[in-house]
Amino acid sequence: MTAKMKLRSQLHLLTGFMAGFVLAFVLLLYVYDVSRVTPCWSSTSTMTTATTARIEDGPPPRILCMVLTCPENVQSLARSVYETWGQRCSRLIFASSEDYEPLGVVGVVEPTGGGYEDLWNKTREGFRHVWEHYAGDYDWFLKADDDTYVVMENLQHLLRGFDPNTPVFFGYKMSRYNVSYMSGGASYILSREALHRFATQAYESEVICPQPKKMGIEDFYMGICMQNVGVHFVDSTHALDGDTKPKFMPLDLENYMSDANYTIPEWLRLMSLSRVETGLACCSNYSVAFHYASRERMFLYEFLIYHLKVFDPNQISERGHRSRLTLSDLTRRFPLEDNSNIKDLLQMSEKPDNF
């Protein structure tokens, strides 16, 4: 009896000991072992079908992208936009001088036009067309060239901070003759209210907005129109708290990435509101738009941003929350421009100096 009890006792001790040991060992190995068998990580099968995770707070802003193109560029640059970043617009429209249904190209100026000299007319008529057909369906209206590359996710994040029912004009802010405007090549964005004011107040008026003409300076003229209808100019460089680097790049990234200073043209330095940097300090980590992107460059950006995956801890997904600015906040942070510097539009020369 005593021997039997002693044996059972030892068995209990051994069982407890082994159970504790195995429990701790297996638990810790499971928690800390990174070598456990995992399936191969999947990569996207094609670049154009790369998908993005949905940001959870509220529906994303609906952005209509109006891309200016011309018949000669439809099969090269416009098609590249269509195959890359254009896929991530809420709606993509090409404004040209001739229709081309497969890509959604709309002719908004007469067929004899369409070149660079018609840029202002194309922009005016393009916005008018967009307003007539789509104004009620979208929040923001992006105007880009067919050689611009836009990171739509970062644009959506920027625009979350603004109410599309307030008059907002968004882009890379520059200044000429003390008149503010947004760089056209870097692309700019109108809120729904801004587009409404353009189409109903500025479009028809010779006093508020320059009339159609050849060699019109599209971005400078748009700046004049926006100021005169009381739209707030939001410089994207300062639109994100804590980030004071440009997010819209009027030049090719090649010019910014070179360390040599000569790659930045003098006109950009003169007319930019803040200092233009080069190298890795040039641009915001949340950059939105790059200009002078060739077809190959667009696919390179698509590959580097959406396709190529780097096993790096700093690439954790950003999920910052942005609260929306009220109209009074907007007025305080981005006050209306002083339009006293704008000369009488009827007396304005055909092509101002240094353009």
């Binding site: 209990h12 001790l13 407890g16 000991f17 082994m18 159970a19 504790g20 040991f21 195995v22 429990l23 701790a24 060992f25 800390y32 072992d33 990174v34 070598s35 995992t38 191969c40 990580w41 990569s43 996207t44 099968s45 094609t46 670049m47 993005t52 995770a53 940001i55 195959e83 996710e153 970062n154 959506q156 994040h157 090649e254 990435m257 070179s258 890795l280 641009c283 980590n285 949340y286 950059s287 077809r295 190959e296 696919f299 390179l300 590959f303 580097l304 941003i305 396709h307 190529l308 995956k309 780097v310 096993f311 790096d312 801890p313 700093n314 690439q315 954790i316 997904s317 950003e318 999920r319």
Partner: protein, 355 residues
């Protein structure tokens, strides 16, 4: 009858049961503690062989042997130690070599430049041979011999690259992690040649295991019959040497058949590798034409000066809101049998490219 149920005996029985329970719990706890210590000890044994680990890092890692996901890439940098040998020349010290030094080269465990002149800003191994294409092979031989003599046991893998190569070091480590550096294998972009195994293109970089480097130096470079100096390209000659000493050419394509080492600039292969290009005829394995490049791409060649920082910006600075880019788990390490099976499979591969 009454004495069997006396209160005294019942109390004693309960007291004994409580004592037994306490004793069992004590031994369970002891088992748990021993299991924890043994897991720590195993982690310690793993780290002990990593002799470049500082004492403070050892102490920190002992507490968390493998740490959390956020530190995976940092941990991986210690697990897969890569020495980078970069071919350059005096005229490129201030441009390409300096760019390598401050971009991807900074993520090598050790970076050595091979040039004919020294430079105080770079870690240069001076090789007294005139700079010409026909001396490249001799230069690489000398570099390999130096590295074998001084660093063979301090690093696991030995990468040779040009100063116009860009290497995504995190993806290289991720790719190499499953493989044993004591296996006789090397990786790169595999090209066809008149010898059966083919060779790895020099411009896209190639990486030798420790045993491959050992075999190259002990059996090939010391031999007057196996590995002769002749007029062929550096990469062809090295490939021939390595085949002759039994180093196996590994397969570096992803599971979709895309090449991870790209011997050209990705610019030139967007959106897909063109048919009948010079590159298509060189590949040992026929490339997948559905798109151009692997999502886990490792190297690019013919990189222009500004593109070093362009890649740096897009891979390490650029953020896209809501987009997950990083695989979160490591593949499993191959055991001895699995590694041998893999080597056997690679050694039996025959080119499927008939161009």
């Amino acid at each position: 009858m009454g004495s069997l149920f006396s209160p005294k005996k019942i109390l004693q029985s309960q007291y004994t049961m409580i004592l037994v329970m306490i004793r069992n719990i004590i031994f369970l706890v002891l088992g748990i503690m021993l299991g924890i210590r043994l897991t720590d000890f195993i982690g310690y044994l793993k780290l002990w062989r990593n002799n470049d680990l500082r004492a403070s890092e050892k102490a920190a890692l002992l507490k968390y042997p493998v740490a959390s996901e956020e530190h995976l890439a940092t941990w991986l940098r210690r697990e897969v130690r890569i020495l980078c040998l970069v071919l350059t020349m005096p005229s490129s010290h201030a441009t390409k070599a300096a760019l390598v030094n401050r971009t991807w080269g900074a993520r090598c465990n050790k970076l050595i430049f091979m040039s004919s002149q020294t430079d105080s800003n770079l870690n240069i191994l001076q090789i007294n041979k005139s700079e010409s294409r026909k001396n490249l092979y001799a230069k690489v031989r000398t570099g390999m011999a130096y590295v074998h003599k001084h660093y063979l046991n301090e690093y696991d893998w030995f990468l040779k690259a040009d100063d116009d190569t860009y290497i995504v070091m995190e993806n290289l480590r991720l790719f190499l992690y499953p493989y044993d550096p004591e296996s006789s294998v090397y990786f790169g972009c595999r090209f066809k040649a008149y010898f059966s195994q083919g060779y790895m293109s020099g411009g896209g970089g190639y990486v030798l295991s420790r045993d491959a480097l050992r075999r190259l130096n002990l059996f090939a470079l010391n031999s007057t019959t196996i590995c002769k100096l002749n007029g062929e390209s550096e990469d062809v000659q090295i490939g021939h040497c390595l085949q002759d000493v039994g180093v196996i050419a590994g397969d570096t394509r992803d599971f979709q058949g895309h090449h991870r080492f790209l011997p050209v600039n990705p610019f030139t292969v967007f959106p897909t590798i063109l048919s009948n290009s010079w590159l298509e005829g060189y590949f040992f394995h026929k490339p997948n034409k559905s798109d151009c490049c692997a999502a886990s791409a490792i190297s690019f060649h013919y990189v222009k000066d500004f593109e070093f920082e362009l890649f740096e910006f897009f891979l390490y600075y650029m953020r896209v809101f809501g987009l997950h880019r990083t695989p979160r788990a490591l593949p499993s390490r191959l055991g001895f049998r699995q590694m041998n099976e893999r080597l056997q499979h690679w050694s039996q591969q025959v080119t499927d490219n008939k161009n």
